[in-house]
Amino acid sequence: MFKKILVANRGEIALRVMRTCREMGIQSIAIYSDADRTAPHVLFADEAYSVGASPSSESYLRYERIIEIAKNAGAEAIHPGYGFLSENTVFAAGVEAAGITFIGPPASAIETMGDKTMARQTMLKSKLPVVPGTEHPIEDVNKALAVAKKIGFPVLIKAAGGGGGKGMRIVESETAFGDAVKTAQRESQSAFGDNRVYIEKYLEEPHHIEFQVLADTQGNIIHLNERECSIQRRYQKVIEEAPSPFLDPELREKMGQTAVDVARSCNYLGAGTVEFLMDKHKNYYFLEMNTRLQVEHPITEIVTGIDLVAEQIKIASGQALTLKQENIGITGHAIECRIYAEDALNDFQPSTGTIGLLQIPDGPGTRFDGAIRQGMEITPYYDPLLGKLICWADTREAALNRSERALREFYISGIATTIQFCRSVIRHPTFRKGTYDTHFYAQHGDELKHYQLVKPENVMEVAGGSFYHHKEQQKNKLTSGDDTVDQRSNWFRSQQEKTHR
């Protein structure tokens, strides 16, 4: 087993990976940009190396520098997390060339699957169903437009070099096509260092359902069942659940087998995710394979009881899977809510600032994979994901109730977040019934926005009185220069009163 692993990432996923490293007795090495000097992953790690300036192009994407740090620090393996360099074949190859183990599939599998168009070709060869679309990245916008017209609008423009909704655009009509391609290319370049995009038919009433797979060096491949990821906004997942309310055991087994076949078709190694689109008749199409850990991996961990990062590390070190397909079960139900630093009431604009009061939910069946701290600054440089709230219970209904309880007790002041937005979704009748598809947000977005969780007419006095008190305190501070009066606790007050009795 490895003694030292460098985690080539930041934020919640870096912390997530390091937690498992420590549990396995492996030293973890953090890299950090200027903006992240005191970030939680840096405080957690056994060793920490500065990797450059705040913009990711000057730090977390500098793969040569990262490989050099790993070599100098004596790291035997590199875990790339998700995003950044996780699906970059040049990086994966460079790591291996430096004699360091890349925790992920071989560069060839990343190339086949990471490149969405090559993946489609591979699937077509294996006679697996794929969504209609271009088979090569867009080079000529006019040729691409011809294809788009042939498959019919609306179409999706997607980044060939990575996932997570970055570089993705839905195009409703011919006129918007050219600009949308350019925007998607720019975003894709900035997010993955790769500007290639491709086109795909935009299925109507689709469900986004993905299967987790694990493949070892001995050729064993298993799947860990599905995750339902149809709640998206801005082409990005925001709430996921496992198991999917749409699948029955037969379909689950069939799709799981397809997922294993997909993994086998590219000689896959490690943890990966096979994404399917499913229409309302329960026909499913291969969408893409993500050759890395997914943001939403914890819901699978919770219903299966398996630590996916530990499995990744064991596989990378050459160990054979000890898990058997027939022993993989589903216990209860798990729901993940992604907490972004975004203003849901203001078109999901990213929000920066300093975290004031922070109250993270906890207790029965409640897990938060995050990397935040009271007093911490949220900077504009990186993905706005603050963390993920994952709630488990024995039934879907209980898991929904638990998620709502946890979101209600989740408190972050100083920045805008998606906490209340997630709560609106969880409370929405269509979501509760489990009859939603990927159009949920398009259909109910406005409703969710105006779906006030606290009714204005019920808080006139509490809002007015608090605001009055606040302004009065501020005035007192300015005039007296004394800001401590209001800070004294009740306990202090009662002690004082006692003394004067």
Binding site: S56, K166, T183, R186, E187, S190, A191, R234, A341, D343, L345, N346, D347, Q349, P350, S351, T352, G356, L357, P380, Y381, Y382, D383, P384, R408, F410, Y411, S413, A416, I419, Q420, R423, Q452, L453, V454, P456, E457, V459, M460, E461, V462, A463, G464, G465, S466, F467, Y468, H469, H470, E472, Q473, D486, Q487, S489, N490, R493
Partner: protein, 166 residues
């Protein structure tokens, strides 16, 4: 003292008084007693008529009050301002302004208009990249672009004036 509070189109006349550590409010809904105790800067625990609330007053968004996590944009006008309003004077904060100011720091990636262009309300003015996403900045009102303070490729801080529409 007399106030009028407005939230999302609802309004209510309040008589607010301080009694020792408490804030006492009289309105047509009756009497409410608020025990307001600070938890952190700008964040308060409020117990009103035995109901418990956590209330944050966002310091750099004027008038935004967050009650149990739900944000509200409120107005609290005292007797003088109420009188001025009755005389037909609108408070400045209620008129739409043509000054476009960044809410977050970021990178200007594209500018769609130049000085002299006519724009409609909600028409995209420019693209700004922040937190790995492109964000459209839209016109807050219809009018003619008076000034453009930024150029493509420029990094801007939060609160930067970028465009003025007149």
């Amino acid at each position: 003292m007399k106030y009028e509070i407005g939230i999302n189109g609802n309004s209510l006349q309040l008589d607010i008084q301080r009694q020792d550590n408490l804030v006492v409010i009289h309105s047509e809904l009756g009497k409410s007693v608020l025990d307001v105790v600070p938890l952190q800067e700008n964040v308060y625990s409020v117990i009103m008529n035995n109901h418990s609330f956590v209330v944050a007053v966002e310091s750099d968004m004027s008038q935004r009050v967050v009650v149990n996590g739900t944000p509200f944009d409120i107005s609290l006008l005292d007797a003088i301002h109420l009188h001025l309003r009755d005389l037909g004077w609108e408070s400045a904060s209620e008129t739409r302004t043509g000054q476009v100011v960044t809410q977050i720091p970021g990178l200007i990636t594209q500018i769609f208009h130049q000085v002299g262009d006519e724009v409609d309300q909600d028409e995209p003015l420019l693209l700004m990249e922040a937190m790995k996403m492109e964000n459209e900045i839209k016109a807050p009102m219809s009018g003619v672009i008076q000034r453009v303070h930024v150029k493509q490729g420029q990094t801007v801080e939060k609160g930067t004036m970028i465009v003025e529409i007149g």
